[in-house]
Symmetry: C2
Subunit: 229 residues, 2 copies
């Protein structure tokens, strides 16, 4: 998935597949904690997180031995350990580029600011939008990108611009020092080594669903599942 090959897997090296699931466990653990649950077994947590319990145990085992045999995991303690592993015990200033529908949705998204992510800037190149307040934040002009990144030590940039400007915005972010990018524009970004890109593409997800839907449709269609005559 366009990621460095976990270089040598040396010091501790958590598998990428595991990293992708940790946030799900974390969210599930928060829900349990709010619920008043103090202790949870791998089986219960696995069901709530929608995975197999053996997988969950192996995933957690990469962080250390934080469970108690015969009992399970202490919810609060596990929340802390997972958070620490994900780097959520520190604050991550984020810059959002593009204050269109999507950028606005992102700025207003609660789960965004909640877990250690702070919106350091919301930028747009459209003069008509600059200056308006969204989620308590004044939209700044794209010209300020470098200033905002440097002043707030932004290391994560979110690209919510049209496809056409995504690559140039990306280049400017990287030049200003951003090393992690979350890209919502439907283009393949090219970045230098050492910069991490993750993409979210609504259209791709729909197409994958369409593929499976088509498969399902052709199953109950002609020449399959013909029972009896």
């Amino acid at each position: 998935m366009s990621h460095r090959p976990v270089s040598a897997n040396g010091s501790h090296g958590i598998p990428e597949a595991t990293v992708a699931r940790l946030p799900v466990y974390l969210r599930t653990l928060y829900a349990l904690a709010e619920n008043g649950t103090a202790t949870v077994s791998s089986e219960e947590l696995a069901v709530a997180a929608g995975v197999n319990s053996a997988k969950l145990r192996k995933d957690l085992s990469h962080l250390g031995s934080y469970g108690t045999r015969g009992v399970g995991y202490d919810v609060e303690y596990l929340v802390y350990q997972v958070s620490r592993e994900l780097g959520l015990t520190q604050d991550w200033p984020v810059a959002i580029i593009g204050a269109g529908n999507l950028g606005r949705a992102l700025a207003n998204y609660g789960g965004f600011a909640s877990r250690g992510f702070r919106i350091a800037g919301l930028l747009d190149s459209d003069a008509a939008v600059v200056g308006t307040r969204i989620a308590g934040l004044a939209v700044q002009h794209s010209d300020e990108m470098e200033t905002v990144v440097r002043r707030h030590r932004v290391s994560i940039g979110v690209i919510a611009t049209p496809a056409g400007s995504a690559q140039s915005v990306c280049d400017r972010l990287v030049a200003a020092g951003v090393t992690s990018i979350l890209n919502f524009a439907p283009v393949v970004l090219s970045v230098p080594d050492g910069v991490d890109v993750r993409k979210v593409d609504l259209s791709i997800e729909l197409q994958i669903l369409a593929f499976h839907a088509q498969r399902k449709a052709s199953m109950s269609g002609p020449a399959v599942q013909v029972v009896g005559s």
Copy 2:
């Protein structure tokens, strides 16, 4: 990723990893076609799509032998073949539940309607939003969900509601006949067998980036890369 295990791999069975990349190839091919390119080699296409060329060839080989040795692939023909495989030669009516910031962003998203996906309905439970027009579409009340699904034969539902109502919306969609769901709410949906769920979670993507960013930060930190004394 929470998908049926490609049951028996019988008739043709394209690997899930390949299916997830086909939309990227398709988008790249469209860009090439608009560019006037008639023929493309696996190497060129792979670079443009951001993957390894051997992987691309193996992926395409699952659809059939559509290339010409010594020459490459005919762009237009490949577009057709990939589209057909993904089920995009037919029309997919989609219902979006939730007309908040995200639902609105989705409805306005161009790439949405472009490739065979048609918004059959945009629903919300908030009476203040019902009736307003978004992207040329009147928002309907959630009570209409079943009616809309049945009338337009919707098989793909998009959940863009708050986490709290996601599961119940999901249940209603499934009961009305929807078998594919794209979930933007930060919860694990539980669905009966035969229903496909894909999730998009902004917060999870950010957390994965934070993990890698933390790792990068600790690399250039103390006790690593000490050159010389």
